[in-house]
């Protein structure tokens, strides 16, 4: 059925909103009492997280079990099972949410399903053991609103993730979906563009270029074809916000691309997505075909003269394709090598035609800016960075997950309030932001309000929003080496500074981690890094030395220890370690010897065992197997 006017869209919205009301209302009124069919609740919904993280923990099996259990109890008509996108709290996945009482079950296993159905869905009694246990108070919390993980968050780009069924366009429409498009098509496109500019929205992919200005430039160039490209080639290892948005709310990206098309006079949309994201690809395909079915993509959209359609293009695993010129070459079927700018894609992009490239998270903000107004958006955040930012919080942290906070939130609030602090009670050492283009920040940076400028000033960058927490067991020289290995592997090889400079830096770092470093190596690293920063061809090359520069700036003493004293205080650099067994603590249980892959441990049962340093490969297996703390690592 085609929707051919703004009024038709509104009437569909009203109807769809009724179906969603049970979920919306439950979010307004916190139900202290749990609901159940025997308590008189007429209709219930079970939301099972369908994000990649939870799917990896058998959430599909959970859905299947719910459906068969409800059928077996003969209540399938009263209880709906839905699969929304990511709830964000990946640490506690798989997540199952019960509506209308908003019960948030964590770490659910397929075998827990029957108990949830009989005890909660039917009987109206929550399954206490599956509720989130607040580490502070030691009490169970049933509504996610009261969890520290969610309390400081403000979800704008993720507004629909974990709330709507991403494979049902009507649920998106019910949440004011396509309203921004419908309103825009009835306005002068210059006014719409002015709103985006006034909102202060900046690119969420890394560099933070003002989105409205980018659109304005693209608008200026006239050509028979113009393109709107969505950059969904999320390459930062450890960032997965774009994927979650596409999995949880694909229509928001489609709507935003159309609004962009209207503003810059383009009729073609292309989404460049990693082939490694099969679920996101599937959800986008479903959303595109549903949008076409309803006439929201295609010719004469909503009865106007505006025509727009979208195609999906697949990446094939190359980090450099996140750079817009490289991305465009890849879409043309070529090697994804960047080219010098200018000409900018706005002038000559896809097959030489004017092209505007925006990242997924940037686009997801666009519809809501227009429905709520640019002033609303610009009232959130800091002076120069407006709105919110999604971060993928991971590493040595208690609450791994996807979070969205207003710009200006401090790292301390993110790590300690939302993230619940460092895992295992270890000491915080550093937080890495911005992925391979960013840097490591330390204790002294924890109270800086985060925005594009403050992170850059501290020697890191916003990047796409990866945020990896590290503790005292992480060696900062190894971390720098890890990122450089990534860069060397991913360098496209076109320009010399990146291709050869990074390789030389990696050789020096390897030398240092193997105890063969010299003091002047640290200065050489810094010099090389500065040359690469100044001379590499593309944004990725220019930022590639950041992990090295920031670790030297903040952890120079660790570099010096590796070089001068041959010590790795985090005990990560294998070549600098010696494993031995404390004869007093060793009980002679032989667990170490049985687990040793190199057969380097020998001894008699109930007598102290001994490690042969010649054979030892320093894998640490004995350390993880010894129950008596007898393995010494120096």
């Amino acid at each position: 059925m085609k929707i051919n006017s703004a009024d038709a869209l509104e009437s569909i919205r009203r109807e769809a909103a009724l179906a969603l009301a049970v979920r919306e209302e439950s979010n307004l009124a916190v139900s202290e009492q749990s609901c159940g069919l025997e308590k008189g609740t007429p209709h219930m919904q079970i939301l099972c997280c369908g994000g990649t993280g939870c799917k990896a923990s058998e959430s599909a099996k959970i859905v299947e079990n719910f459906r068969s259990s409800l059928a077996a109890h003969g209540i399938a008509d009263k209880v709906e099972v839905l699969v929304p996108g990511c709830f964000g709290f990946c640490e506690k996945g798989p997540i199952v949410k019960i509506i209308p009482d908003n019960t948030f079950y964590t770490s659910v296993h397929p075998e827990d399903v029957e108990e949830i159905v009989t005890s909660h869905i039917i009987g109206g009694n929550r399954v206490e053991r599956l509720l989130y246990l607040d580490p502070g108070s030691g009490k169970h919390i049933s509504d996610s609103k009261h969890m520290n993980f969610y309390r400081k968050q403000l979800r704008i780009a993720l507004r629909n993730c974990g709330f709507i069924d991403p494979e049902n366009i009507l649920e998106y429409i019910a949440r004011d979906g396509y309203k921004a498009l419908s309103d825009s098509l009835n306005r002068d496109s210059l006014d719409v563009l002015a709103d985006i500019k006034a909102s202060g929205l900046r690119g969420r992919g890394g560099a933070g270029f003002p989105t409205g200005v980018k659109w304005e430039i693209a608008r200026k160039f006239d050509a028979p074809h113009k393109y709107v490209v969505c950059n969904a080639d999320e390459g930062d290892p450890g960032a997965f916000m774009d994927r979650s948005i596409m999995e949880g709310d694909p229509n928001s990206v489609i709507e935003a691309m159309m609004i962009c098309g209207y503003c810059i006079n383009a009729n073609h949309g292309l989404i460049y997505i990693r082939a490694e994201y099969p679920l996101a690809v599937h959800r986008l395909q479903v959303a595109i075909s549903q949008a076409r079915e309803y006439g929201l993509l295609g010719d004469h959209i909503l009865g106007t003269d505006f025509c727009f359609d979208i195609e999906i293009r697949y990446g094939a695993g190359a980090f450099v394709c996140g750079e817009e010129t490289a991305l465009i070459h890849s879409m043309e079927g070529k090697r994804g090598e960047p080219t010098l700018k200018p000409p900018f894609p706005a002038e000559a992009g896809y097959f030489g035609y004017p092209t505007n490239v925006n990242n997924v998270e940037t686009l997801a903000n666009v519809p809501v800016i227009l429905t709520k107004g640019p002033q609303w958006f610009s009232s959130i955040g800091t002076e120069k960075s407006k709105g919110t930012k999604v971060f993928a919080l991971a590493g040595k942290i208690n609450n791994v997950g996807l979070i969205e906070v207003p710009m200006g939130t401090t790292l301390r609030e993110i790590i300690y309030d939302i993230g619940g602090g460092v895992k295992g009670g270890k000491k915080f050492k550093a937080v890495q932001t911005g992925g391979p283009s960013g840097g490591c920040l330390t204790e002294k940076h924890l109270d800086i309000p985060i925005d594009y400028e403050s992170l850059a000033a501290a020697g890191s960058m916003m990047g796409s929003g990866g945020m990896i927490v590290m503790d005292e067991d992480d060696c900062m020289v190894s971390v720098a080496k890890f990122f450089l290995e990534f860069t060397v592997g991913e360098s496209c090889g076109k320009c010399t500074p990146c291709r050869i400079g990074n390789k030389r830096m990696l050789e020096i770092l390897t030398r240092i981690t193997e105890g063969r470093g010299k003091m002047e190596d640290i200065d050489t690293l810094e010099n090389l890094a500065k040359v690469i920063k100044d001379t590499a061809l593309c944004g990725l090359g220019q930022t590639s030395p950041n992990p090295v520069l920031s670790t030297i700036a903040n952890f120079r003493d660790e570099y010096e220890e590796h070089v001068k004293d041959h010590i790795c205080r985090a005990r990560k650099c294998k070549a600098l370690l010696t494993y031995s067994i404390d004869p007093v603590l060793c009980k002679g249980c032989s667990a170490c010897a049985r687990g040793c892959p190199a057969e380097a441990i020998a001894g008699e049962v109930r007598k102290p065992f001994v490690i042969n340093p010649e054979k030892c490969i320093r894998c640490g297996m004995c350390l993880s197997r010894c129950k008596f703390g007898a393995i010494r690592v120096i």
Binding site: G53, S57, G235, R313, A316, G395, G595
Partner: protein, 159 residues
């Protein structure tokens, strides 16, 4: 490139894929994706057929195939193992997990076991960072891995 024989039937399938995309060189990457999905890998004879069909040089096709890590010129194992080396997995010890896979399977990254059963690769972020460190075997994701789990996991696939 090594000597790899590909059946005429397979080459005909490749031609069909090219024609489906109107032999358009702009669709090269899409064609390579579909070909790899069908045949499992992209050996030299297949690349030559694609080059001929699209009217571009074989060197150009080879340049693209080798540029992208997703494309492979050697067949993958029946059970392809991929260890995530994203940053979140790395700080939670994925390097040790990878070492153990190498040891248990007796192959290096990018290789396939002689019986064609397992191949070993690295990937950058599955996006299941809450389960770090993570590895995938086929479609199945294994999370919160400890090097001592690997032997048992591999044994699940021994028939």
């Amino acid at each position: 490139m090594s000597e790899i024989k590909v059946s005429c039937e397979a080459l005909r399938q490749v031609e069909e894929i090219c024609r489906k995309f109107h032999n358009d060189p702009g669709e090269l990457i899409t064609i390579l994706h579909e070909t790899q999905n069908t045949l499992g890998y992209l050996p030299e004879p297949v690349q030559r057929v694609i080059a001929r069909e699209l009217g571009i040089s074989a060197q150009k096709v080879y340049g693209v195939v080798t540029f992208y890590s997703f494309f492979s010129m050697v067949p993958k194992g029946k059970y392809p193992v991929s260890v995530c080396l994203g940053t979140a997995c790395y700080v939670r010890g994925s390097d040790k997990v990878l070492e153990e896979f190498k040891r248990v399977l007796g192959i290096e990254v990018g290789e396939t076991t002689p019986d064609g059963k397992f191949s070993l690769d690295c990937l950058r972020c599955v996006g299941a960072c809450g389960l770090a460190p993570v590895a995938t075997i086929g479609e199945k994701v294994y999370g919160r891995l400890n090097p001592s789990d690997i032997k048992k996991i591999v044994a699940e696939f021994e028939d």
